[in-house]
């Protein structure tokens, strides 16, 4: 719902008119906010998300055949991204067994319980927002704006981060670093 979205990067994508994007995100926010801006600008051709209910434009574009939408249970979506970032081929989850989510997927029984094999997701770019970054790129997130950010930061070839505050190296205590600097490629001040 646009909480923890790198708005400055989204605005820049809109300014440059980067078309034909595949967006992997929990949701497509609402018109005018976060990923909703990309949708409004007609830049998204494919979305993989758990929820699009608060953005009527996503629904309209889906119905009009302008955007392909793959709906994924939220816990499965985050685990597929985690698998992508952690070098795993996928994960086994009980979520979705016996529902429409099961269609086209392999069902695997482990110790008497059925699981769906859900494959890993990776992206060319991860666009991440953080509260605090140091100049090396160590990241520390704020409150519920953490959500998908640290998991996505692991799961893309190029990781671009916007930060509310960029502080000298050493200010963020090692125990408070959530995303380690080596995974971050570019750091951008939020304003």
């Amino acid at each position: 719902m646009a909480v923890g979205t790198p708005e400055r990067l989204v605005d820049e994508l809109v300014r440059q008119g980067k078309r034909n994007l595949t967006v992997i995100a929990n949701d497509t926010a609402m018109p005018g906010r976060g990923i909703g801006k990309l949708v409004s600008a007609g830049l998204v051709s494919r979305t993989i998300a758990s929820h699009i209910g608060l953005n009527p434009e996503t629904q309209q574009q889906m119905i009009a055949g302008k955007m392909a939408v793959e709906l994924v249970p939220q816990g499965t979506l985050i685990e597929r991204i985690r698998a992508g970032g952690f070098g795993l081929g996928g994960i086994l989850t009980p979520t979705g067994v016996g529902t429409v989510v099961e269609e086209g997927k392999r069902k695997i029984e482990v110790d008497g319980t059925d699981y769906l094999l859900e494959t890993a997701l990776r992206a060319d770019f991860a666009l991440v927002h953080t509260f605090l970054a140091d100049y090396l790129g160590n990241l520390s997130y704020a409150l519920t704006a953490r959500n998908f950010n640290p998991v996505m930061a692991m799961a893309a070839d190029t990781v671009i981060v916007t930060a509310d505050h960029i502080v000298p190296v050493g200010v963020i205590a090692p125990d408070h670093v959530v995303t380690p600097a080596p995974v971050v490629d570019y750091l951008v001040a939020n304003e």
Binding site: G75, G98, T144, V151
Partner: protein, 216 residues
């Protein structure tokens, strides 16, 4: 008392000290307003918060402190935040004691449909499938009928949220449980007769000899 308040108050009686509880959007959210005195529970917001508190007063909200619908919330002392992988690990991993969710249909064995009406409403399942599959106890908060049509049906015509049956359905008319996979009338709301509940329910209801009234 209006229907939503009856439902929320009755479900609040299911809360026990120390439980970790996730409330869905709509009627379920109202349960937080009726937590019995002396009972402390942890509310989880699946976007990454345990210790969710009331809606903040004007001017006290924080843009990065929201519930799963993106609405401002507060965090109580002792709250903690985490990423979505941890949040759904809590949900699927057997750490969530109870979830309260809205419902579109519940079938005679307790299976829930609550995420889509194909062709009409396709918002996506969000966290609903994980919550129903993973929570230790699943409670459905919904009106007994929709436009006069029963919502507790023989078989769901809408796509299921999970194969896992729910534990309890609370409506403005009744409390229904599913022991041994059979819809069973547990309580009726004040001034509601057993006959009225049965007539408003499409699924066959097991009715014990004595059906107590909801204690609100």
């Amino acid at each position: 008392m209006d229907a939503q308040t009856i439902i929320a108050k009755r479900i609040a009686h299911e809360l026990r000290e120390g439980m970790l509880v996730n409330l869905g959007i709509g009627i379920p959210t109202l349960v937080a307003n009726h937590v019995p005195e002396g009972v402390d529970v942890f509310f989880q917001s699946e976007n990454g918060l345990i210790g969710t508190g009331p809606i903040p007063e004007e001017g006290m909200s924080h843009p990065t402190l929201t519930d799963a619908a993106g609405q401002p919330v507060s965090a109580l002392p002792g709250a903690c935040t985490f990423d979505s992988a941890v949040s759904f690990g809590l949900i699927r991993g057997g750490h969530l004691d109870m979830t309260v969710l809205g419902g579109l249909q519940v079938d005679a064995t307790g299976r829930l449909a609550n995420w889509t009406i194909p062709g009409k409403m396709v918002p996506g399942m969000g966290g609903a499938m994980d919550l129903v599959s993973g929570a230790k106890r699943v409670v459905v908060a919904m009106q007994h009928t929709a436009k006069g049509k029963p919502k507790i049906v023989k078989q769901c015509t809408l796509p299921l949220t999970s194969l896992r049956p729910v534990d309890l359905v609370v409506t403005e008319l009744a409390v229904i449980a599913f022991p041994d996979g059979r819809a069973t009338l547990v309580e009726t709301a004040p001034d509601v007769t057993v006959e009225h509940v049965v007539a408003s329910t499409e699924a066959e209801l097991d009715v014990p000899q004595h059906v107590p009234q909801m204690n609100l």
